[in-house]
């Protein structure tokens, strides 16, 4: 399956790209709005801040393409800051795409950033995270989305309170952790993502 990694010119997408290739997909990096709108699966994997990433997508003309693909029911996966971008206002400054309801807030924990391996808890059945209840995956973030509708959460972790680690609704999915840096568990997530987008 062709997987487009939407590139707004900031992140390094090499590791995400090769993780999808290992999972059997044909990933490619693009800033062409047509490709970002039409590919069978699109992935946004920002680094840094919601604000700079949102501005980058706006500047590249990809914001509209991402909205259109979601409106057409084509699957979109956000990774880390990419998941935060699916949401609304960020305490860090800036605003996400507003495709899912809720703010992005700074973590309130003894240690921030939340850095390292943490075990997923699954509050419900999820195509994205099939077989991953209790699996350790890798996190590296200081902010996290707080979905306004609790049923959006497909996985949570504990770090100074509950953090939403993954969301899933219709053609939208997001993971706050890094599947491309989460060993065999991360590879399983990406295989699930590919299966999920085939059936979407």
């Amino acid at each position: 399956m062709r997987v487009v990694l939407a590139d707004y010119g900031a992140g390094n997408l090499r590791s995400v790209c090769s993780a999808f290739a290992r999972a059997g997909a044909e990933p490619f990096v693009s800033l062409d709005p047509d490709e970002v709108r039409e590919a069978p699966l699109a992935v946004i994997a920002g680094v840094g801040h919601v604000e700079s990433a949102a501005r980058g997508f706006e500047r590249s003309g990809l914001t509209e393409a991402l909205r259109e693909r979601v409106a057409a029911g084509r699957p979109l996966l956000g990774i880390c800051v990419g998941m935060q971008l699916l949401f609304e206002e960020s305490e860090e400054g800036g605003r996400g795409l507003g495709l899912l309801p809720g703010p992005v807030r700074r973590l309130r924990a003894e240690r921030v950033p939340h850095m390292g391996w943490n075990a997923l808890a699954l509050p419900r059945r999820s195509a994205l995270l099939d077989g991953l209840d209790g699996a350790d995956v890798y996190f590296a973030h200081s902010y996290a989305a707080e979905p306004a509708e609790p049923e959006l959460a497909a996985a949570t972790v504990e770090h100074g309170g509950r953090i939403v680690a993954a969301v899933e609704r219709g053609p939208l999915a997001g993971v706050q952790f890094h599947p491309e840096r989460s060993g065999p568990a991360g590879a399983r997530v990406l295989e699930n993502v590919l299966a999920w987008s085939r059936s979407a």
Binding site: W117, N118, S142
Partner: protein, 246 residues
């Protein structure tokens, strides 16, 4: 609960893993990515590549190595050693390093940490601090900087560092355990994770570092001799009651 991390550190010179005594008589230990993949199979939580000969001119092989590591590894890795400034750090992160460790360049100009955090996020910015008797030293321990490690750690975090990689020059290479007083003082002074480095000889030493407040611990010589030791160490830590990934 986030797991305590065990992190092998590989010394790299001109794109190869080397081993030597105090930077002399370096011995070629092989390809960094191959060794890294082996550690990854043995449940290493992260890796650190320390470029021990890094100068601007010698950075080429390291960048090629970082690109390959980013493609082939499925665990996170930090690159450090001789990072001279913003351009250098940016090149390593853009090549695919998950984090960059800056040491002397950050002491010389702490604004570097802010610039990197603004561009890549704090989670990508590690401030490496070498300490002797509680004082910050640079240039592989040769230059005392007249600055307390605890004070510098606090400032580094305020400036944007997302992690402190804390090496005790006193304990380094002794295999007698980490510098626990130093680790405890810095871990109490900052809200970011602190990675203890220098002195690991056995699982009990890592357990002590975790008890002192470290979120992670660096190991080097004890696993380079026999990589399988890594899996044993983690099993031993689990038996000691620590929440580690196996």
């Amino acid at each position: 609960m986030v797991k305590k991390r065990v992190i092998p550190c590989l010394d790299v010179a001109r794109g190869r893993v080397v081993k030597g005594v105090r930077f002399e008589s370096l011995r070629d230990m092989g390809d960094p990515v191959e060794l890294a993949l082996r550690y990854s199979e043995l449940a290493a939580d992260e890796l650190v590549f320390l470029d021990i000969t890094a100068t601007l001119e010698s950075r080429g092989p390291t960048l090629a190595l970082v690109e390959r590591a980013a493609e082939e590894l499925s665990i996170p890795f930090t690159v450090g050693g001789g990072v001279s400034g913003l351009g250098d750090a940016r090149a390593l992160l853009r090549a695919g390093a998950d984090k960059v460790a800056v040491n002397r360049a950050a002491v010389d100009d702490p604004r570097l940490l802010t610039a990197l955090a603004d561009e890549f996020g704090s989670q990508a910015v590690v401030c490496a601090i070498d300490s002797r008797a509680g004082e910050v030293v640079t240039h592989a321990g040769r230059n005392p900087r007249g600055l307390e490690a605890v004070v510098w750690a606090r400032e580094a975090v305020a400036r944007g560092a997302g992690e402190i990689l804390l090496t005790s020059i006193d304990a380094d290479g002794t295999r007698q355990g980490y510098d626990l007083d130093l680790t405890r003082a810095v871990a109490q002074a900052v809200e970011t994770p602190v990675v203890a480095s220098g002195g690991a000889g056995e699982a009990g030493h890592l357990a002590e570092a975790f008890a002192a407040g470290a979120e992670a611990a660096i190991i080097a010589s004890i696993v380079h001799e026999r990589p399988e030791r890594l899996t044993e160490l983690k099993a031993e830590l689990k038996e000691l009651g620590w929440n580690v990934r196996t």
